[in-house]
Symmetry: C2
Subunit: 177 residues, 2 copies
Amino acid sequence: MEDQLALARQNFIQNMSRISHFWGFPKAMGAIYGAIYLSPQPVSLDELVEQVGVTKGAVSTNVRTLERLGMVHKHLEVGDRKDYYTAETDFWKVIRGVLREREQQEFDLALRAVAESLELARTPEALAADADTAVFYQQRMTNIQDFFNSLDNLVAMLIALDNLRSGTLSRLFGNSS
Amino acid sequence: MEDQLALARQNFIQNMSRISHFWGFPKAMGAIYGAIYLSPQPVSLDELVEQVGVTKGAVSTNVRTLERLGMVHKHLEVGDRKDYYTAETDFWKVIRGVLREREQQEFDLALRAVAESLELARTPEALAADADTAVFYQQRMTNIQDFFNSLDNLVAMLIALDNLRSGTLSRLFGNSS
DNA sequence: TAATACGTTTAGTTTGAACTAAACGTATTA
DNA sequence: TAATACGTTTAGTTCAAACTAAACGTATTA
C-alpha cells in the first residue's frame, strides 16, 4: 500500500468513524464499515482487526450490528470457515435500514409512554384535583401525541419506499434541480 | 400538586428525558424541555432546578442549548431579574431547528472530509502506485460524495420549508390519509 | 458600600457505553 | 484424539460526556 492511497484510506475511515459517532453509533462501527466499503474484495473478520486496529471481539459485535442494519452483507465461501463481508453501497437503502432498526422501535416506545401519561391526566381524580392543570396537560400531551403519530407515519412511509432516491423528495417538492 | 397529575407529569418528563438521550442530547435537556412544555406559565431557572432535580449549572447550560435550537424561548419581565422560559409547541419547527443547528454543520464537515480523501486518491502518485485500487477508491468516494450532496440539499430544503406540517410529505407522496 | 439575587463558568466527579484481553464453544484438520 | 482456526461471549478497564458543587461576575437593592 502506497503512501497517498493509505492516507486517503486512513482519512476516509476516520471520517466514517466520526460520522458514526455523531449519529449515536460506536466509532469503531463506522471505521469498520469504512474499511469494508473501501475494499475491492470481500473482507474477513481478521483482516478487519488488522486494518481497523480494534480487537476481534469489537469487530465481531460491530459487524453484526452493521449486518442487522443492512449496511454490510455476509458471504460464506465453500471450503472456508471464514466469514467475508461486503458493503452495501446504496446509501438510501442504508438510511431505510437504520430507520427501520432504530427509529421504529423508539417511536413506538415514545408513543406508548405519551399515551400512558395522557391516561393519567384524563382520570377523574386528576380533573377533580386541579381541573385547569389537568386540561392543560391533556392539551399539551395530545399535541405531542399527534406529532409523534405523524412522524411515525412519515417514517413508516419512507421505509416502505423501496425506490427512494436522491431526487425523489426534491422532485416532489418541485425544486429547481 | 395531586397524585395523578404529578404522576402524569413525572412520567412525561421521564419519557422526554429518554427521547433526548436517544437522539444524542443530554437526558437533563429533555427533562428540562418536558418541564417547560408542561408549564402553563413561563418558568424560571430556579423553578426548573426544583422541578427537574438537577443543579443550577446544568439547567443553565441545557436551557441555553434548548434556546439555540429554538425549542424554548426566553422572556424577560420588567422589574424582574429572572429569566423565564416557555416551550416552542410547533414540533415541526423544532425539527427544523435541530436540523439547522446540528446536521447542517456536520454535513459540511463530512463533505469536506470526503473531498479531502478523494483529492488524495486522485493524485498522480496514487494512480502510479496502484492504479486499480486508486480507481476503485475514486469510484467509491465519488459515490458517497454524491450521496452526501443529495442529503445536504434535501436537509437544506427541509430547513427552508417554513410551512412544513405533518401532512406535507404524505400529501406529496400521495398516501391515503 | 455592603448585601442580595441572579445567571454563568470552572474544577472535579460520576457514569455508562465501548473497548480490550482472554476464555470459550464448535467445527475442521492432522 | 489432539491441535488448530474460526466467531462469540464475558469480565474487567478505559474514556469522554454530563453532571455537581462552588466560585464567580454583575446588576440591583438596602
